[in-house]
Symmetry: C2
DNA sequence: AATTGTTGATATTTATAAATGTCAACTTCC
DNA sequence: GGAAGTTGACATTTATAAATATCAACAATT
């Protein structure tokens, strides 16, 4: 891979991404509809994927096909990411946050308020930290004493 | 329910438990084989279930049938419970613990060493804290700063 | 301006997880 | 001691999640 291109740079069209991952464009759109991934969108509404996106999607595929975790299972796991700790939102903000209060879907699938409002979920640490497989437990460890 | 009987007292036979939960005995044994539940075992190897067991199993069924989380998904979620924090095991002990080191199954499905060796998983807080649905996120919150 | 690719929506197929069925050996408990 | 219940192992069924297919409207690329 060209090292001058950042891993987070959205450069692959949906058909290229599908070819590289050996899946169909339908599947890629399905994962997006389910809230598992957030591809970059051009002004014309067309999707672009970065290498980091591809890595993340490969993890999702491994979870589904090898680990046999259902899509809803993956969403539930994502919902356990301690976003409130990662972005250090205040107790006040936590009080009116769906993610903090027992949500069962990833935080980036909800409407945002407060600190999160200013953030782009696609580039937010909460979303990007799971671009490598199996990092959620590490995340939990790092926030626990 | 008779209030003099503790919720954790193993009193229901497998067929009674199945009838109360409206499922088959096969399903109960399957959940056990998968490591989702740990029923009490008589000396003769026959199973007994407590009210807490029934509550827990109902949560599992809701996760499978309503939330559409696969059994492997539930196992993965259980594996995220910060047991090292709950039972306060030492850094030394963590080093040689499968659960601490990226396990993808619940800690109670592994062979135990150190502090855990003395514990009965069935009564261990790590296992019992999820007898109420949706408490894992609360657990993660409570251990994060 | 013509070809190739993308969009979202709906319908269909397929792969397989979850749940049952069946069995013979063993317990339990009137 | 005999009926009713339980055990584990293996086979089978069924319910449905995941993946594809098809479509007409729109965008991009040459």
């Amino acid at each position: 891979m060209n090292p001058s291109i950042k891993k987070t740079e959205p450069v692959f069209s949906i058909s290229t991404a599908a070819r590289l991952l050996k899946i169909s464009v339908h599947t890629l759109r399905m994962y997006e509809r389910e809230g598992l991934i957030i591809p970059y969108k051009k002004k014309s509404n067309q999707r672009l994927y970065s290498q980091a996106d591809l890595d993340r999607i490969q993890c999702i595929r491994d979870a589904i096909n090898q680990a046999k975790i259902s899509i809803n299972g993956i969403k539930s796991i994502y919902s356990l990411i301690p976003c409130w700790d990662i972005i250090k939102c205040s107790a006040e903000e936590q009080k009116e946050c769906a993610s903090f209060n027992g949500a069962h879907n990833p935080c980036w699938t909800y409407d945002h308020k407060n600190v999160c409002k200013e953030r782009d979920c696609r580039t937010c640490e909460v979303y990007t930290k799971y671009s490598q497989c199996g990092t959620i437990k590490e995340l939990i460890k790092s926030v626990s004493r």
